[in-house]
Symmetry: D2
Subunit: 348 residues, 4 copies
């Protein structure tokens, strides 16, 4: 950590700061430039750096505090160079094969879910998605079927063999959702719900952590660190678009986040082009792009009858469109050296 003193800082100021550093047991490293004096603080443990940075910055003679290292550790690629593989049921995320998660935005009924699940499976999906607890901007909209929805998901899993992923929104529901789901999803609005993240750190199920719509990569990885710091290392990142000034799409899918997360972290990363674009016609192009950019998989909204969907119909693919997309993906998956069938890589 480097503390930049203001131009008019005095020797007494420098002395005050040096004492602060040394009495905490860290080393001072002084560098006098032509226009500014820099004070390095060496040896502070990662967990104390946020506090130190704030406290040093609060001195009136300090202009800036510059952090050198990334503020996350367990999920940092520096600390584990090989990429993590996370198992959801019998499916591996982050292995050679791509993972396709598909299903409706919300579980609405037994018929809707089973029809969509069978269709998704037939087209080649590996994991079934579907919301039982749904965040909704309006208090008057559909909020999901709750536990009834979880039971339907379990039934669809039994019927198709597909593992299931579903969102949890409330610390009080973590245990319940974990009982049914193969993977728990944290939605974009809850990425910085730290109580929820801590609770998920105690669970022994994998967690898919969507990026907050206004979160930087660093904040997103710190959110993952929350979960990991409590002992649950089974974390999958999911880029789903960020909020920008562009109104044509619901969010702006940050394609660079995929290679960037691979540089910065060993966690697998998947893409959610449905929520990113909010427009069915744009989904296939962004799915292909995500795979080309190195994503370990994608999550796609599929609905047997989008115009009857209780939520997010405009972004859902029909089963026919999804099957077509799966066929179109094949050459891109091959180009990326990632088979679309689980287990294929090993057996070849």
């Amino acid at each position: 950590m480097i503390v930049v003193l203001k131009k008019n800082a005095t020797e007494a100021d420098l002395h005050t700061l040096s004492e602060e550093i040394e009495k905490r047991g860290y080393q001072v490293h002084l560098s006098r430039g032509v226009e500014r004096t820099l004070v390095g603080c060496i040896g502070a443990p990662e967990k104390d750096k946020d506090l130190l940075a704030d406290q040093f910055a609060a001195f009136p003679f300090v202009e800036d505090v510059v952090r050198i290292l990334k503020p996350y550790k367990i999920v940092n690629r520096e600390f584990q160079p090989e990429r993590s593989q996370i198992r959801i049921g019998n499916v591996v995320v982050g292995g050679d094969a791509l993972v396709i998660m598909a299903g409706p935005c919300s579980v609405e009924s037994r018929e809707q879910l089973l029809e969509t699940a069978h269709g998704a499976k037939a087209a080649g999906a590996h994991i079934l998605r579907g919301g039982a607890f749904k965040p909704s901007t309006s208090p008057y909209s559909f909020h999901g079927l709750g536990e009834e929805g979880l039971k339907l998901l379990a039934e669809a899993r039994a019927a198709t063999g597909l593992p299931i992923i579903t969102e949890v929104m409330d610390t009080r529901d973590v245990e319940l959702v974990a009982r049914y789901a193969d993977c728990l999803q944290v939605g974009t609005r809850n990425m910085a719900n730290f109580s929820l993240l801590r609770e998920l750190g105690e669970v022994r199920k994998p967690v898919m952590l969507k990026r907050g719509m206004s979160a930087t990569l660093e904040e997103w990885l710190q959110a993952a660190e929350y979960i990991a710091s409590r002992g649950n290392y089974e974390i999958i990142l999911c880029e789903r678009g960020i909020r920008t000034f562009e109104p044509y799409t619901r969010n702006t899918f940050d394609i660079s986040a995929i290679p960037a997360c691979r540089e910065l972290s060993h966690l697998p990363i998947v893409a959610d082009p449905s929520h990113a674009t909010g427009k069915r016609t744009l989904v296939p192009a962004v799915v292909k792009a995500a795979i080309a950019a190195g994503a370990d998989g994608v999550m796609v909204e599929v609905h047997s009858r989008p115009e009857r969907a209780l939520k997010d119909g405009p972004q859902a693919l029909t089963l026919i469109e999804f099957a077509q997309l799966m066929r179109d993906l094949e050459p891109f998956a091959a180009a990326a050296g990632r088979p679309l069938k689980q287990g294929e890589a090993e057996t070849e």
Copy 2:
């Protein structure tokens, strides 16, 4: 609600849509322009419009669905033209007098809190703020003293007579926090934590709802509507800056949000320049600006020793700086026609 058909939509498409509208019991209103046909859907109740808009937009022959009315009702100024007044202890927010909330970011110790509370009171603050449960981007940072912090706040209230406001982050803590606090605060990261909002709708204490750092005014007012829709109408809005590309300040304080919220809603609105700017030197100017723009009050971080603060020291004013600010505010409060002393307006 207006449904815009694609240029190449057929009469059969128009028929399909009209049937969908009519079988739900609403009226169709057709408008054929030179290049597009518009279909008005008249008579749908507010609570069904989100779903309808999504379902209509999911038809492949629909280009766009345009909503005409605001998607919130109870908090909408159209439904209650006179402005709401919310009582926190013996203090009225939204009345003639301005309300100054001051205190440390976090409750750190008995000494720190009492010293700051007495100082804030002496300078003219009306409400004491302080966090017992603190959101923190890093899992390794200070997260607050929890219930111990709430007890210290209650002690400070007893010692100074100032009502207290403090944040609640977890649905499981709502009852606990409501037992101690005079007003419960929802932080920016939880503005769209809908489980928490619903829970706060059941509480009989006022709630201060901070704007989400990436929330539009409409989403913010819908979040308030969540609380109101459960029966708690005691809601105060708090503008605290939004996330933009500008790195000099921690957030960008949206000054226009103050008159805009006054146009759109009857709820009181206060400003938090400390979190918005993140820089102590900028706080006084933004406090004055917020009052000039029509805010009903401000929340300011004050710390007896900022360079020892366990969180957000760089943005906290010292007690001396705060007392100076209170003196400097007087002419601006007078210009705005808003006394700085509670009860003053009535007695004059």
Copy 3:
């Protein structure tokens, strides 16, 4: 165009508006909803709609004016369903084959340019890029060699056979640059330099229009319309990232813009991952993604010695890295059904 009246608008207000519409020769179409009255204005020509919308919105009894149609015409896909093909020298952009533009950010010296040009050509590039006039945030930085740079580009074209593309920043330089270049580039900072756009509308050379870093798709297409409205239809769009809150990358590459522009316009679209990411390590992934998403080509910064570059070295690929990228692209180009060699599609 639909004019939404305020809730409390009177019949007299409605009459005033109707008269305004009719005396301009357009038709009024009235729709009375439960809570709002809507007034359609039918028959106004595209070119008058901006003015009308502003004038109607200026009436105090008007709540909102909703535009239904896109505010661009010549570049709109509705008016020309088949995609445009633009010829730069002997290279076709928007045809079957992908187009790879490569070269240094700035032309710095004869040696640098020729070495890079020969290397790029050997690796398979089709067009040579290089800046003679360079925008630079600092007045003290390198601003390009000017006409000397243009001459070197012409020499590199003669030596390699690659057509050249280079930026023009000043209306006074349009003629000069057009004399040397095969394609004129408008940079992100000049996308809304309307004087420059108009000037380029008079030129008989193709123009590559980069997206403004804070421009919506609609504004970008309107900028293209500026050029087209003066008679130059030879326009190529170039997505180069938009400004967001994310600091890890220089800009956020908007991958959805590629399929979106293909929906909205018939103009070819290429991608510039170098400026979007600002980081050499991220460029290859975003190049592949852009091609998978449907881009007609990419522009990549390549420098024979990045650590000696006078501008933007950190984002430039070395010649070795570029050659590797070209090999890695082959399966993705094949997956997209777009040959990497010009003329290949026709001859097969």
Copy 4:
């Protein structure tokens, strides 16, 4: 400047970098932390730092380059602690008195301009604004009367005694506009039109530089530095809102930019709430806020008949509204210690 080496950088890498620094004549300052080695480069002149930073960052063993000092010099408050005063005709911007610039968005006709100018003057405005050359998103909209508009402005000046400010958009028009105007305005879309800025550096008239809608404070001050670096120090900054995700206002007025610019620079700063909000009803609140925050003046759009305006009618105040605003401003101007009448401070 501090160069951060990657974790796995070798002693040979360090040697390469040190040599690069020393052979340029600068000093190396080494700091070995626990996890990273930092290399300070001491003594490089400001004008070379951008290039150096880029070149160092281009080495594959370099993780990051951290700049310590602000990249602008002449306009930096460090280099001139006392605030600048700029004279526009007989009006001083940046002195004790506030400066009110008012007038229509565009000069449309003799009648419109003179009526508005007389009304603005009567209400207390000090400077007349009005566009003769107008940027417009659509190529089909009104673009201003050109030189005819400049002549009408000159006539209005003669008739009212108010100095005039008007925009210049094209390097070729600088001389022409400077012949008529008392102050030349650079619009938001041209803030980074570096050719135009350089040209304005040669003019002997004051320049008002609006902030680019996606420009950081640092980029804005660098744009001012462009003008200053050519010898024209008569620069006024104008905050006019930045582009964010919020659609309710046209832009988001960055109120913190006012005290921030006062910290960072000695240049006067004024506010343009009309373009920031785009809504007439929000303008008065933001005008008051800007003055409370320390602005040296404001620019307000006023039109004798907004519903007939050829541009931006919805944001223009009527003459009656403007006169009311001027009366309402008085107590706020007094609170800020800034007289609303020029010369008043001196005479008292």
